[in-house]
Amino acid sequence: MTLLEVSGLHVSYGPIDAVKGVSLSVERGDVVAIVGPNGAGKSSTMLAIQGLVRTRSGSVRWRGTDITGWTPERRARAGISFVPESRGVFRTLSIGENLRLAGCALATGADVSERVQLALRHFPALADRLSERAAVLSGGECQQLAIGRALVAAPELLVLDEPSLGLAPVVLDELFAALAALRDEGLTILLVEQNVARAVKLADHLFSLRGGVIERVDEPDELLRNPSYRAKHLGMG
C-alpha cells in the first residue's frame, strides 16, 4: 500500500527554485532515503511533505488523499511525524513536556503516558531525566528526544531530515541502531541523509536528488554489489 505519494513537487523561495518537479512514493513498511549534496532541495522536499513550506505546484497525497493544502498540524494528526534538521526540541520545556507535547497529535482520549513509555523504550537514557530542561541535552540526546517525541505521536510515517547532522561517530552508531530497530518493527521511514554509507545500509530505496530534481533511484542492495559505487560513495574497496 502506498502511504505517501509526492508528484511533480515544486517549491520556490522568491525567485529561487529549490525543488523542481520531484516525484517519489513511499510504500508502507519501507525505508526510503533521499541523498544528495547541499542545496539539492532535500530539506525543502521534507518541509513540503509536512506542510511547513508552501508548494508552488505538484501534490502530496497521503493514503490516496490529496493533502497538499492541509495544515502541518492536520498532517501530524493524520500520522506523519516530522523530525527537522534542527531537531525542533523546545529548549524551554522539560524533556517530559517535549515528549508529551507530541501527544496532541493523538486522537482525543488516547493514553499519552503510555505512548511516552513506549517511546522511551527506544531511548531509555531519557527516562530518568524527564523533569530536566531540554536545553541541557547534548546534540545526540536532542536527536534521541526528537525521534522519541515523534514516536509518541504513534506515526505511520516517520520523516527525518538529516538525522546524522553534527553527531559524533559513536553517537551515530547508536542513532542508526535505533532507526534499524524501528525499521525492523515495521515503521515506515522517509529520511534525508548526506551520509550515504549509513543510508545505504538502512534504506530499501535510495533517491538521489540534485539541483531540485531526482537524478536517479537505486536499490541499496545493488549499489552494495556495485564495486565502482562502493569505491566512490561508500569508501569501501
Binding site: A76, P84, T92, E97, L101, C104
Partner: protein, 293 residues
C-alpha cells in the same frame, strides 16, 4: 517607616493593575509576535460594558463584562488577525493600529466623546487598618485578585496540556504545529486570556478613576508596553516584574519628589527607565533574542 510601607502598598496595587495590562499584551506577543495596540480598546470596552450592565448586581455585571471582552478578543482574532497570522511584525502592528482606531470610532459613535462616570466597586472605597497602615479595600482587592490571576496563569502554562502547547508555540510556532499543536486553538486561547485580563484590568481601572471615555485605553496600553520593555521582552514573568518596578518608580517619585519638581514626575519616571535600559538593553530580566512564555 510607616509612610514607606504605605507607599509600597500603593505601588503594589498600581503594579498589579499594570501587570494585568502588560501580561495581556505580552501573552499575544510571545505567541504570535503581535504588538496589539487594540488591547487598549479591549480595556475600554470592558469599562463601557460595566456601564451597560450597571443595573445588575456587581458580580453579575463583572462576569458579563469579562465575557463581553473575551468575546471581543476572540472576534478580533478571527476577523482581523487570523488573515495576517505569520505576517511581519509591522503588518501585525499596523493591523492592530487600524483595529484600535476602528473600535474607538465605533464606541465614539454610540457612546459619544463626553466622559461618562461609572461607580464601580464603590463599596470598597473605605480603608482598613492593618498593622498601623491604612489600606484601601480596593487596593487589597486589586493586589489579591491579581496575585490569584498570576498564579492561575502560571499554573495553566506549567500544568495543563494546552498551557504546555502555548509555551511550545511561543518558542517555535512552526515546530509546534508540525507536532500537531492546533494553531487556531492556541492563538484563540491566548486572545481569550488576554481579553479576560483586559476586562479585569478595566474593572480595577474604572473603580479607581470612575470615568469612561472612548480613548481611555491608550494610556494603559502604553504603560503596558513600557512595563514589557522594562521587564524584558519575551518572558511573561518579566513583563509582570516590569509592571511592578514601573509602579514602584512612579509611586515613590510621587511621594518623595519636592513640590517644585513634582509636575515632572512622569518625565523622571521615564528618565529612570531610560537609565535602566542603558545598562540592561534587553530589560531587567530579558535576554537577547529570547522570546518565550
Amino acid at each position: 517607616m510607616s509612610a514607606v510601607a504605605q507607599n509600597l502598598v500603593n505601588a503594589l496595587s498600581l503594579g498589579s493593575l499594570y501587570a494585568l495590562i502588560a501580561l495581556g499584551i505580552a501573552l499575544l506577543f510571545s505567541i504570535m509576535g503581535l504588538i496589539n495596540f487594540a488591547h487598549g480598546e479591549l480595556i475600554m470596552i470592558g469599562g463601557y460594558a460595566l456601564l451597560w450592565f450597571a443595573a445588575l448586581p456587581f458580580a453579575l455585571a463583572a462576569v458579563l463584562a469579562v465575557a463581553v471582552v473575551i468575546g471581543c478578543g476572540l472576534a478580533m482574532e478571527r476577523l482581523a488577525f487570523r488573515s495576517v497570522r505569520g505576517a511581519s511584525g509591522e503588518t501585525l502592528l499596523m493591523t492592530s493600529f487600524a483595529l484600535s482606531l476602528f473600535i474607538q470610532g465605533g464606541v465614539l459613535l454610540f457612546e459619544g466623546a463626553n466622559p461618562k462616570s461609572a461607580d464601580v466597586l464603590g463599596s470598597l472605597g473605605a480603608s482598613v487598618e492593618v498593622a498601623g497602615l491604612s489600606i484601601g479595600k480596593l487596593d487589597i482587592t486589586i493586589i489579591g485578585v491579581t496575585a490569584v490571576l498570576l498564579l492561575g496563569l502560571a499554573w495553566f502554562l506549567r500544568r495543563t496540556s494546552l498551557g504546555v502547547q502555548m509555551r511550545a508555540a511561543a518558542e517555535d510556532f512552526r515546530m509546534a504545529r508540525a507536532l500537531g499543536v492546533r494553531a487556531n486553538l492556541v492563538v484563540a486561547t491566548a486572545f481569550g486570556v488576554s481579553g479576560a485580563f483586559a476586562a479585569i484590568a478595566a474593572i480595577f481601572l474604572v473603580a479607581s478613576t470612575g470615568t469612561l471615555t472612548p480613548s481611555m485605553g491608550l494610556s494603559p496600553v502604553l504603560v503596558g508596553f513600557v512595563a514589557i520593555m522594562l521587564g524584558g521582552l519575551g518572558r511573561l514573568w518579566a513583563a509582570a516584574l516590569g509592571a511592578y518596578v514601573l509602579a514602584l518608580l512612579s509611586v515613590m517619585l510621587q511621594a518623595y519628589l519636592p513640590d517644585g519638581v513634582a509636575p515632572y514626575r512622569d518625565a523622571l519616571v521615564y528618565l529612570g527607565i531610560v537609565v535602566i535600559l542603558v545598562f540592561r538593553p534587553h530589560g531587567i530580566a530579558g535576554r537577547p533574542g529570547a522570546v518565550r512564555v
